[in-house]
């Protein structure tokens, strides 16, 4: 049986995005290990080198997860609605160009104002040349352009396929449920909500991110054009937080499709699921206000909105998705291949990172944790033990399906201990140090930072070993002959 041309082209795009994203992830992991080792006192880095590496690591990890996840999401949308592969490759080109610019800004440019580039930092008291700031800003703009292209393509296709926003957001399915069902209509499958919400919120936030980027580029060209620091802070955190947050909503589509495949069950769209996604649609673009809790000049009403939005962006969709995911697995008789293991462990990581995030989003708690190592604790849990695992899970579901085999028990233990066990040790170092008040983004940390950094470095090295074992296993499975049904 031959595979249709469209399916082969879509798979090629998915694997291109996956391979690129995971390669960037590996490089950023190495940078991360070096920085934690420096904070532990194992190696010595000049502060300038540390902050340049931190700048690259921060943006690189988010972009890596976004690229890998978007390739998968694009593939899922393409299974429902045929998409033009050329547009996906065009977006890919923008992403790659953006990544190249960012790397040039850091090596050899030594840019070191982090992904936040809080105005006026990239222009005052810098230890890097002005051109590096410009190349960094242009690189960011190119990557955002790639994201916008994919979001626009997916959203246009979804609107055409499901009959506008009313159909995409399943409004009739919720408010006229009986009539909808009696007419034999079907709401979009769950993964389409992930695509729609990513596309809508992605476009809104990208517009704001672009506005900030252009304003910064104007200031870079003509320093006499001033920006308002509070306005700038709102814009960069709105875009940055939303983009980072969307990576999990992008990747969770792999749970809807992959876990259903592993358990041979169906992940249904339900009214609570749709309403939960509406909550994410509305609140994920408002949750960023929690980044400005400690800016007391910010309108106080926005601080209240920040706490409420932080809860409502995450809690409903996490509760509904994960509860349904657990039901899907419970007494299903699934065989625990690496695909299912990653997807299920990813849900656990999402919950754990979410608990830490919700605590930090509570203003009186944030008063003592804001910009401590607690913050990287929660988002490393979320990215490393959530987003990454969803992506790897879907990748292994594909490999297992293609080859008709599962990895050996030994391999599953090795990879599992490496990525889950090492990951847990790694993030624990952040949480304990953060709870003790150790600031984040310090090249040299006060106690107990160095002690916790030692534990975290060991954890990160174990993660690296597990990740490499996973890569070898993926390559081994990719070389196996395909079963007849998947040739």
């Amino acid at each position: 049986m031959s595979v249709p041309m469209n399916v082969r082209a879509a798979r090629a795009i998915m694997w291109t995005y996956l391979a690129t994203g995971l390669t960037i992830f590996l490089l950023m992991l190495l940078l991360g290990i070096a920085m934690r080792a420096e904070q532990a006192g194992w190696i010595t880095l000049a502060p300038g080198s540390f902050y340049s590496m931190l700048s690259l690591h921060g943006i690189g990890m988010i972009v890596a997860m976004a690229i890998a996840g978007l390739g998968t999401l694009w593939y899922f949308v393409n299974r429902e609605i045929q998409l033009d592969a050329r547009i996906a490759y065009t977006a890919y080109g923008f992403f790659v160009a953006g990544v190249v610019c960012v790397i040039v800004a850091v090596f050899p440019g030594h840019y070191g104002a982090l992904w936040t580039m809080l105005y006026p930092l990239p222009f005052i008291g810098t230890y890097w040349p002005s051109w590096a700031t410009g190349v960094w800003l242009i690189g960011n703009a190119l990557a955002i352009a790639g994201f916008v292209i994919l979001c626009a393509q997916m959203l246009a296709a979804l609107l055409a396929r499901y009959g506008g926003f009313r159909g995409v957001l399943a409004i009739d399915y919720v408010f006229q449920h009986r009539r909808f069902s009696e007419e034999g209509k079907e709401p979009p499958p769950p993964q389409m909500f992930a695509a729609a919400i990513t596309a809508i919120d992605g476009l809104i936030s990208s517009a704001l991110g672009m506005l900030y980027g252009i304003a910064m580029i104007v200031h870079w060209i003509d320093p006499s054009v001033p920006l308002n620091p509070l306005w700038a802070k709102n814009l960069i955190y709105q875009f940055g937080h939303t983009f980072a947050n969307l990576t999990i909503y992008i990747a969770v589509a792999g749970v809807y499709v992959g876990l259903a495949h592993c358990t041979k069950r169906k992940y249904h769209t339900s009214v609570p699921l749709v309403v939960a996604w509406w909550g994410t649609l509305l609140f994920v673009i408002l949750a960023y206000f929690h980044h400005l809790y400690m800016d007391f000049v910010q309108n106080e009403a926005l601080q209240y909105i920040g706490e409420i939005a932080s809860y409502l962006a995450a809690i409903p969709v996490v509760v509904v998705t994960i509860f349904s995911g657990v039901m899907l697995v419970h007494r299903s008789g699934l065989r625990w291949g690496l695909g299912a293991l990653f997807l299920y462990a990813g849900m656990i990581g999402w919950v754990v990172g979410g608990i830490a995030a919700v605590l930090d989003a509570t203003i009186p708690i944030n008063f003592d944790l804001h910009n401590t190592l607690w913050v990287p604790g929660h988002f490393h849990t979320y990215l490393l033990e959530g987003v990454l695992l969803f992506i790897l899970g879907w990748m292994f579901v594909q490999l297992e399906q293609r080859s008709g085999t599962l990895s050996s028990l030994l391999t599953r233990w090795l990879v599992g201990i490496g990525i889950f066990g090492g990951g847990a040790l790694f993030v624990l170092g952040f949480y304990i140090a953060g709870a003790a008040g150790v600031p984040r983004r310090y090249a040299i940390e006060p106690a107990p930072g160095p002690q916790m950094a030692s534990i975290a470095t060991i954890g990160a090295i174990i993660v690296l070993a597990g990740f490499l074992a996973m890569v070898f296993e993926a390559l081994r499975m990719a070389r196996l002959p395909a079963t007849e049904a998947n040739a």
Binding site: S324, P364, N371, Y431
Partner: protein, 169 residues
């Protein structure tokens, strides 16, 4: 809320969540049942679970509001101007103990953070120091001693070394 208490709450809730999810995956794994059997019970539970979690979140929000650190119209106290700049703070030498004070915090260059650590080295509060703006941070110190101030917003190559101190007497 002290960071170590938050850590204990986090670890407690996280361990329960992990244990519950692992138990649900393993329980009855060797005796599979049709999806409808699991979902008919699960959907009924899920509705209440979702409502319970949202009610819990609403309760946490309601409890947290009175503890917001923002100054109100009723906030009074002796004002102290704090100016942050790359890479030091202009700080008062002494702050009176058991006396309401308000820190008027700003920056002369880029964004900084004004993080106050008590004599035991615990972070007890903070506010951002932003150029062109003044953030007012009300505080009441009950324990005398030497307090350290650290920058809690990345501000450049000297960020980790940016600190100062004052005495509470």
């Amino acid at each position: 809320m002290p960071g170590l208490l938050v850590l204990k709450i986090f670890l407690g809730v996280a361990i329960v969540a992990i244990a519950a999810m692992v138990a649900m995956a393993l329980y009855g794994a060797s005796s599979p049942v049709p999806q409808e059997v699991v979902f008919s019970k699960g959907y009924a539970v899920r509705r209440y679970w979702l409502v319970a979690v949202l009610v819990g979140a609403a309760a946490v929000f309601a409890i947290s509001v009175p503890h917001f650190p923002y100054p109100s119209a009723a906030t009074t106290g002796r004002h102290y101007t704090i100016i942050a700049r790359q890479y030091f703070f202009a700080l008062p030498a002494v702050i009176p103990v058991n006396t309401p004070v308000v820190f008027d915090v700003t920056s002369a260059d880029v964004n900084h953070g004004f993080g106050i650590y008590n004599p035991r080295g615990r972070l007890i509060g903070q506010v951002q120091a932003m150029p062109d703006y003044v953030n007012h941070l009300p505080f009441d110190f009950h324990v005398p001693g030497r307090y350290t101030v650290r920058c809690l917003e990345y501000c450049g190559i000297g960020h980790a070394a940016m600190q100062g101190s004052f005495f509470v007497r």
